[in-house]
Amino acid sequence: MVAHMTKAKRHQILMVLAAVTLVSGAIAWASGAARPGSAAAAQSGFKIAYANSEIGNTFHQALVSAVQATEKVALKSGLVSKFTLTDANNSPTTQAAQIRQDVVAGYNAIIVDASSATALNGAIQTACSHGIIVVAVNENVTAPCAYNVSPHWPDDTKVQMEYFAQRFHGHANILNVRGVAGTLPDTQMGVTGVNDVTKQSPGLKIVGSVYGQWTQTIAEQVTSTILPSLPTVNAVVTQGGDGVGVYNAFKAAGRPIPQIVFGNRGDELRLWQSILKTDPGYDSFSISTWPGGISSFGIWATVALLKKVVDIKPSYIYFPLSEITTGTLAAWIKVTPPSGVATRSFTYAAAVAVLKKEPNIPIVATAGPTGPISGL
């Protein structure tokens, strides 16, 4: 193979050199542009790293914007002197590498929104053995040395099923719309929570089970596929991000609309509101968790643990699920974009108040976008 320098090859090299310059410039600009409040850093504050799993869906977008808002408050107050946010595009490999880098860089605490309940355990163990506090938010991890801040996911579906038991007097055909197979939240909601109630009320029959993957389009597709084989469906137990898809599937099939529980998504709340306009007797509610609440609560809980304001050993720190009723629906729709999730954040003081009450906090809290949170 004879190599010779043609004009084309020379241009190729220049393009490569231009690309390298572009990339270096981009890195320099991006890191300069995104470096938060280092000018306001106090010497005595803590250094916290936040290892996020993904930002590719509305739930996580809401989580991350709450992180950035809370970070500003934390840096300004001097409680935190350095805060880094990394994202792993839902790859456990990448996330584990980022956690290890945080250990090398010497952070005091690492907050993790895990892309896998177990694949990060090695990295988390390493962090713990270096004396770093590891707090898992939103997605639980099984590493014994980590704190798990999460809603009690089985109760998300348990509350739904108990409501069906009461409304249908113990006898109903129910469609179980689940999330992504093989993940811990899906098992906790779609299996544990549901079975807890069917054991007590055997008249509640699960006539079908589909994986909606917390995505409206997929939920619609899998529901449409299973519908022809199902008898009358009285109610649908959901995990959030699937209500609109399920409704559309039933409508397209010409079936009577069952009682669907919604998941606090902006599009689901609006759908619920439009159903109520034509059918004011449509009896439902919406339940999920505030993404902003989880991340802000997680950050403040980490600060509280670092400051030793509370003495809690690594274990579950439960966080209430949030329920939206017809009473608070309109107020929530006003502050939730159609592609968003209903959310509100915690202040440091509010978070410490909850921590001091652990483990006796309510499983479900009902509240509007502002004002007091019932039970807390």
Binding site: I13, A19, V23, I27, A34, T84, T86, N89, Q101, A105
Partner: protein, 330 residues
Amino acid sequence: MRFLRRRDVAAVALALALFGVMASVQPGILTATGLDLTLLGMVPLAFAAVAQMIVMAGGDIDLSLGSAMGLVNAICATAFTKSVWVGVGELVAFVVGYVLMGAVIEFRRLPALIVTFAFSFIWLGFALVVLPTPGGVAPAWMTQLFSYSIPGIPEPILLLVVLAAASWLYLQRTRTGRLIRSLGNKRLAVQQFAAHPFSVRLRMYLAAGVVLVLGGFSLTAESSSGDPNSGQSYLLLSIAAVVIGGGDFAGGSSWPIGAVAGAVALGFVSSLDSFFQISANLLFALQGLLLIVALGLRRAEVLGQWLFVRRRGDREEGAVTQGVLPGEGT
């Protein structure tokens, strides 16, 4: 300057450059602990890249790699708690299944892309049967195997060097290795070697399968638990590592050092934002840019000529160089 013409120079250069950049921002990684922690996560990817490289050398591509690693991970985290023989048995069954996949591809001359894509669901299904939700526990001996270290030299470096050397030896210095590369380049040549393409294909998938099992071991040791979905991200990263390292979709060549270096480079790229606090939305665009730069640099031979051949006339006439034939990977 002949080495600049090697197709794996770009990968090694990129890995070293990224390491240099990271070391300048975070000197902590220059310690033994720092190096160990930094390179640890790249070991499973390096195994995945080598497995993919073997398959690509034979002219195929393995889209089931991610699910396969997830399956091995799931097996390691469950079967060995019952007994070593159950674990060994299940892993052997997996390798047999993997070779069977190669048989299906060769027997009907089906496109590897489609067959491996279909098999990715079979592996995932088995993984979910073995381990329905993330959990399980890595056997203690497996974790110890991968944390054994010679004082001063972090184990990941040893593993990466041994892996690159072993795969180079296999593909460049054994008859089977040469046959595998010929299969990807010129099927006729295989018959001239008096070997049957079918048997060569099987041997190729056997080698890749064994590497995947070892990769699954390292993944299990690194995460100390099992998750059927944990291997998914390795698929595209392994292909990228092989291509950055000089490999070709057309088959016929293998660049083991390049594949391992490509895996290391990609590992550094993943950790970039820990150092530069880059906005998450921009990060993936940057990673993509880096990949394109790396691919552009693959033709470093041209860059080397441009930098080191002085007279314009020489360059334009085309200084004759002893080229490297596609089948030779050295």
